[in-house]
């Protein structure tokens, strides 16, 4: 029978199948962080159970950690308690942990791939919705709740009902300065924030083929913003190239065996998808959001839309609410919108390629007066690599703040937050009300747009900068 990539990975992980019951799936990699794990460990403790496979489990500290003064105790008591609890739990249950100060610490979805732990055909879970990031490798990767975290810790399996499958075929060559972030924002605007509900999306087509691993991760990362459980890309040479030589990747002579196995991980030609969407990106220009959900986006060259023109009643109402919260008027050119803060980072755009792209734009230029720009590498490794290349100097000379690794202003659980009414251009993934701090207003953008915006002080693309290099 012809099968999709997602179905192939699913089938190869069924531990037990019985009529009327969910499939019991084996989990190859379980990533853990401080926010969603404490009750799960406590549940194990109450029941007197061990972690079944600590060697398939990896914990990092990311959501709460400060990005300044990381050698001092964490000031916020709730954050400190969560981090300290994770440390105690990992010690007690023998789970490997990358703590603040460790060279492998960072955002859980940046750390897994960079260690080579995320590989094609694996099942990967984490108590975090952006686990979909790992699907870029052709893994089936999705977020789970705290009870499920406990279930995986105790059994290394999860009882699950199958997902539906959706193919999103992306064709065309991306214009210079247009990135995977712009593509995924356009995809979400097309299918809506609920359009992916219940689906695993497989991204394919010539534009995806041409993307780097970092770009594919950016795209899969935001599958969840379209409501999907997971996003996937079939593995290819780009995937193998990225993995080869990473600390946890297969070594010779296993490497060839692994690649042979991975080569079979593509959807069969006649495989059936429950839904198919085709998007042409040849004419795509940089995309930004104007509202308070990720589907409320538009080309940077356009204007704030008038909700009165929206056909759907709910969307119209949501549009008015969003404009009110964002303090925007219909018809305002998006490039007239002034920002206070620029955030470059997160598991969406906090990898080395993202920092390079932003640095190339800002090199020799200045962050404009009155704007603060935070550059927060996704992991310590990313920070060190960037420092090796001198990117930290580029950012600092431009007047940006160079920080330590973590989730930071993506969700504002640490001190990096917007003040009420403040407006940001942010490379993260959620522009929900209050996401970056109570009353904060978020415009989601690509790293290049973030950098250009920092220089201009208004939403801008690199093309707007031609005459500003000093």
């Amino acid at each position: 029978m012809a099968r999709t990539l997602a179905e192939k990975v699913w089938e190869s992980h069924v531990v037990r199948r019985a009529p009327g019951e969910p499939d019991l799936l084996y989990i190859d990699l379980h990533l853990v962080h401080e926010v969603t794990s404490p009750q799960a460990f406590d549940g194990l403790r109450l029941a007197g159970r061990p972690v079944r496979r600590p060697d398939l489990t990896l914990a990092t500290e990311d959501h709460n950690v400060p990005t300044l003064d990381i050698d001092l105790p964490i000031a916020d008591p709730v954050s400190r308690t969560q981090v300290e609890t994770l440390r105690r739990n990992c010690a007690e249950f023998d789970v490997p942990l990358h703590s603040l100060g460790d060279e492998e610490q960072g955002i859980v979805h940046v750390v897994g791939p960079q260690l080579g732990l995320t590989q094609p055909g694996m099942t990967v879970v984490c108590g975090d919705s952006h686990t979909s990031t790992h699907g870029a490798f052709g893994a089936l990767a999705f977020g789970i709740g705290t009870s499920e975290v406990e279930h995986v810790l105790a059994t290394q399996t999860l009882p699950l009902r199958p997902f539906k499958t959706m193919a999103v075929t992306i064709e065309g060559d991306l214009a210079a300065g247009v990135t995977a972030k712009d593509v995924i924002l356009a995809v979400i605007a097309e299918i809506g924030t609920g359009g992916g509900q219940g689906y695993v999306i497989e991204y394919r087509g010539s534009a995806v083929k041409a993307m780097s691993m970092e770009a594919r991760m950016t795209m899969c990362n935001m599958s969840i913003e379209a409501g999907a459980r997971a996003g996937m890309v079939a593995p290819d040479e780009t995937t193998y190239e990225f993995l080869k030589g990473r600390p946890r990747a297969p070594r010779d002579p296993d490497w060839d065996t692994a690649v042979q196995t991975w080569e079979r991980l593509r959807s069969d030609n006649d495989a059936h998808f429950d839904r198919e969407v085709v998007i042409d990106v040849a004419g795509l220009t940089p995309y930004v959001t104007w509202g308070t959900n990720p589907a409320q986006g538009a080309p940077l060259w356009s204007r704030v839309p008038d909700p009165a023109t929206f056909a759907d009643d709910n969307e119209r109402a949501a549009g008015y609410r969003a404009l009110d919260y964002m303090g925007l008027r219909p018809g305002t050119p998006l490039r007239d919108i002034e920002v206070d803060t620029v955030f470059l980072g997160s598991c969406t755009n906090g990898r080395i390629e993202d920092l390079r792209a932003a640095a190339a734009v800002i090199r020799g230029r200045q962050v404009t007066e009155g704007v603060r720009m935070l550059v927060v590498p996704g992991s310590v490794r990313v920070r060190l690599a960037a420092e090796d290349e001198g990117l930290d100097v580029v950012f600092k000379e431009a007047g940006a703040e160079w920080r330590n690794a973590g989730c930071s202003m993506c969700l504002g659980m640490n001190p990096d937050q917007l003040a009420p009414g403040e407006r940001s251009a942010s490379t993260s993934n959620r522009n929900f009300e209050g996401r970056q701090g109570k009353g904060g207003r978020t415009h989601l953008v690509s790293p290049q747009v973030a950098a250009a915006t920092a220089v201009v002080g208004r939403l801008a693309s690199p093309a707007d900068l031609e005459s500003t290099r000093g």
Partner: protein, 195 residues
């Protein structure tokens, strides 16, 4: 989890409908890092009122909560079940439960006994008349009994079986641990490990 076939205890009449999970446990109590100790957050806003039924001396030690329809509506927080359990409740009797709450209760060893609203009304009156009245909830016979009254209740077969066996999700999976072992023995050796 402890198996539960039949439970007898004193009851509290919570004469309210649409009790949502934000009322059962407000969000500020969710910051804790343990699985236990949520009793202080149970109905925290309502308990500020000294007249609230749970604050009355005769409610101390009650283990059965009798509430109006659509109990447990709202956010999916599992803490709502933990808070009720930690306070000492083993059973909630209501004329209707929100789906997610019902699912979470089954996972957390809290019995949700669904009866007709008429029976809830009668039970409320019986508790008001005599706060010491003993209520028995029998999972085997699917009955709620007090005084000389016995009424049937609804609960799905699978949840009932699990409660009577005292099995949580993890227990259920661990029954198939040999399947897991077989699967593990066949995984390629080159798959990554974290240490």
């Amino acid at each position: 989890m402890d198996p539960i076939t039949t439970h007898t205890g004193r009851a509290v009449a919570l004469r309210r409908s649409d009790v949502d999970t934000d009322q059962i446990i407000p969000a500020v109590y969710l910051k804790r890092v343990t699985r236990t100790g949520f009793e202080d957050g149970l109905f925290a806003a309502w308990r500020a009122d000294p007249e609230f039924v749970l604050n009355r001396p005769e409610s101390a030690g009650a283990t059965v909560l009798v509430a109006g329809p659509n109990f447990g509506t709202g956010s999916s927080r599992e803490h709502a079940v933990w808070a009720l359990r930690d306070h000492g409740f083993r059973v909630v009797v209501s004329s209707g439960f929100a789906d997610i709450f019902r699912g979470n209760a089954g996972k957390g060893g809290l019995v949700t006994a669904q009866v007709r609203q008429r029976d809830v009304d009668d039970l409320w009156d019986a508790i008001d008349a005599d706060p010491k009245v003993e209520v028995t909830v029998d999972l085997a016979g699917r009955t709620v009994t007090w005084g000389d009254r016995a009424v049937g209740f609804e609960i799905d077969d699978y949840t009932r079986w699990r409660l009577m066996q005292g099995l949580d999700d993890v227990d259920l999976t661990l029954r198939h641990v040999s399947d897991v072992q077989v699967f593990e023995s066949q995984r390629p050796s080159w798959l990554p490990v974290t240490r």
